[in-house]
């Protein structure tokens, strides 16, 4: 493991690699050992969204090929930009899961080999843990405990964060994720992939009151979500309409967006109330949704809840959050597993179990 020298002025350089889905991302974080804070020295992201768009979703084999082609030159360019040699790095952090197996294997195999060649420890990071801690990259993490609403194409969950490595899932989707609901609704509306941004774009011109879509689980006395029924309601609306006019598309998009956002906002605030927590972090790709950000901030203000929104670029997949999470492990002297490999179904509750 990494030897720590908690002297003034000493810092750790962490190189991070993220390749769990459709973004190849690398970053170098310089963390100060005196106070656990730091900064991103350099970062790069290669998005594959355009590559996958014609297929209506991320295609794992194509994603894996792109990761392999992109990653090694990206790391070289990143080190060049940061003016660092491998010898100047103290740790390599890599997303070990969850995600697409073939995609994860590219990052993990590369990281392990580079770590071995240069004698640098390699730290496996849980992709979701990166998202949970993302506000710390550019600012200060809220005081523990805080609640994170993690909402993306693959996940919708409410997590109580009690400390680094201490996460409790207090609510989750029982079926589809919120981002998946956007993607599938977009498919039903004949819109392009990814669906979230497309629906938001149309929603700006639409009348959200035109279609009364269900707010699943809103009145249930728990923190779970369900978006599968909303998708079915969209399908029924589309079938009933026959030929969708442009106006109807916009109105339906607005109705979908507000239905999803309503549920996310209400449940998140309810979670804070239930857990008696005053800080709420929103992370994941859907956290980039402007409507969600605005409504959350508006409703939280009256309840003395502070909403923490990571920079937009750190809402979607990135390596800065992986570097930051790994640095927090080093700084807190928490040791990760020794014997590990890429794990596409790594669960948040299994963090710190090797």
């Amino acid at each position: 493991m990494i030897r720590l020298f908690r002297e003034e002025g000493s810092s750790l350089f962490v190189l991070a690699i993220e390749s769990s889905c459709d973004e190849t991302a690398v970053a170098i974080y310089q963390g100060e050992l005196i106070n656990g804070r730091g900064r991103i020295v350099a970062e790069r992201v290669a998005s594959q969204i355009a590559t996958h768009a014609p297929f209506g979703g991320v295609v794992p084999e194509i994603a894996s090929r792109e990761h392999l082609a992109a990653l090694p030159p990206m790391v070289d360019a990143l080190l060049g930009e940061a003016d660092l040699a491998w010898q100047g790095l103290d740790a390599i952090a890599v997303t070990a899961g969850p995600g697409l197996m073939g995609a994860l294997l590219v990052g993990v195999s590369y990281a392990k080999a580079a770590g071995m060649a240069h004698g640098i420890p390699v730290i496996p990071v849980h992709h979701m843990e990166g998202h949970l801690l993302a506000p710390g990259i550019t600012g200060d993490l809220p005081a523990f405990p805080f609640i994170t609403l993690l909402v993306s194409g693959g996940h919708t969950m409410l997590v109580r964060v009690d400390g680094i490595g201490q996460y409790h899932v207090i609510g989750q989707t029982l079926d589809d994720a919120a981002g998946e609901c956007f993607d599938k609704s977009a498919r039903l509306l004949g819109l392009a992939y990814p669906g979230g941004p497309e629906i938001s774009r149309l929603a700006a011109f639409g009348d959200a009151a035109r279609f009364d879509l269900p707010r699943p689980m809103l009145n249930k006395d728990n923190l779970n979500f369900s978006f599968s029924g909303l998708k079915t309601a969209v399908m029924y609306t589309v079938r009933n309409a026959g030929n969708l006019t442009k106006d109807m598309r916009c109105d339906l998009a607005a109705s979908i967006e507000i239905a999803v956002v309503d549920v996310l906002v209400k449940k998140s605030l309810c979670a804070c109330h239930q857990e008696n927590v005053t800080h709420l972090v929103v992370a994941g790709g859907v956290a980039a949704n402007r409507h969600l950000r605005r409504q959350l901030e508006g409703e939280a203000a009256g309840r003395e809840i502070t909403v923490h929104l990571p920079d937009l670029r750190y809402c979607t997949d990135n390596a800065a959050m992986i570097a930051y999470a790994a640095f927090q492990y080093c700084w807190s002297d928490i040791h990760g597993p020794v014997d590990w490999d890429a794990n596409p179904r790594w669960r948040l509750v299994d963090i710190n179990k090797s």
Partner: protein, 221 residues
């Protein structure tokens, strides 16, 4: 830089993971060290340590390596990527030349014959990877063909890791005499001898998939 200024590499680390089995060897000019001839699956967890043990056997450090050789396929997509990502990681910072070796050429070398030999490996989706080699030389570029086209070819002696997906009457299947790591060492040794300008070789390993992914095929239907 020209080859006359640059001595040919002495220490070459070679890896092939195209067939779901790890084959690795280290050529040092005077000696050849082997590893992973067994049924070991290429997993990121074991691969790097397999290669480290090779270096230890030879008493070398990573920076003593002058070049890498990559069994670049065609073969299992995932296997190729684990091998490529591992070599890319090892070569990060070293920036050594990356010699690309056809994985079918290694199979041809396993048959250990001086006659021309066809290599046929199942490529799934109704296709086969096919190559033709003689004495370490490719007589034709590696290709990916539907099995029906393979069946329509004139019969010949062939080598393969798997049973062919179709009947190949009149074809003669030769046994694989050499282990894959032995064949890898022989193929790399032969290919290295043909290189005149090592500095012109790529630095990053690039798999030769020879097949688009299924989604790409569907998109073009």
């Amino acid at each position: 830089m020209t080859s006359s200024q640059q001595p040919p590499p002495r220490n070459i680390l070679a890896l092939d993971t195209a067939h779901s089995l790890v084959a690795a060897c280290l050529l040092t000019g005077s000696d050849v060290y082997h590893a992973g001839a067994g049924a070991e699956k290429p997993r990121s967890i074991s691969l790097a340590s397999t290669l480290t043990s090779l270096l230890e056997k030879a008493g070398l450090q990573w920076h003593d390596l002058d070049a890498f050789a990559f069994g670049c396929g065609p073969g299992s997509f995932t296997g190729l990527r684990i091998g490529a990502a591992t070599l890319a990681g090892l070569n990060s910072g070293l920036n050594r030349p990356m010699l690309h070796i056809s994985s079918l050429a290694i199979t041809a070398a396993q048959a250990d014959t001086s006659d021309a030999i066809t290599v046929i490996e199942d490529a799934r989706a109704g296709e086969a990877f096919i190559a033709c080699h003689q004495a370490g030389k490719a007589l034709r570029p590696d290709r990916c063909l539907p099995w029906q086209e393979v069946a329509a070819m004139p019969s010949a002696a062939y080598a393969s890791h798997t049973e062919p997906a179709i009947d190949l009457p009149a074809w003669q299947r030769l046994p694989l005499q050499l282990s894959r790591d032995q064949a890898l060492a022989r193929t790399v040794g032969h290919a290295a001898g043909q290189i005149t300008d090592w500095q012109a070789l790529p630095r990053y390993p690039q798999p030769a998939y020879l097949q688009p992914s299924q989604a790409e095929r569907n998109a073009h239907v």
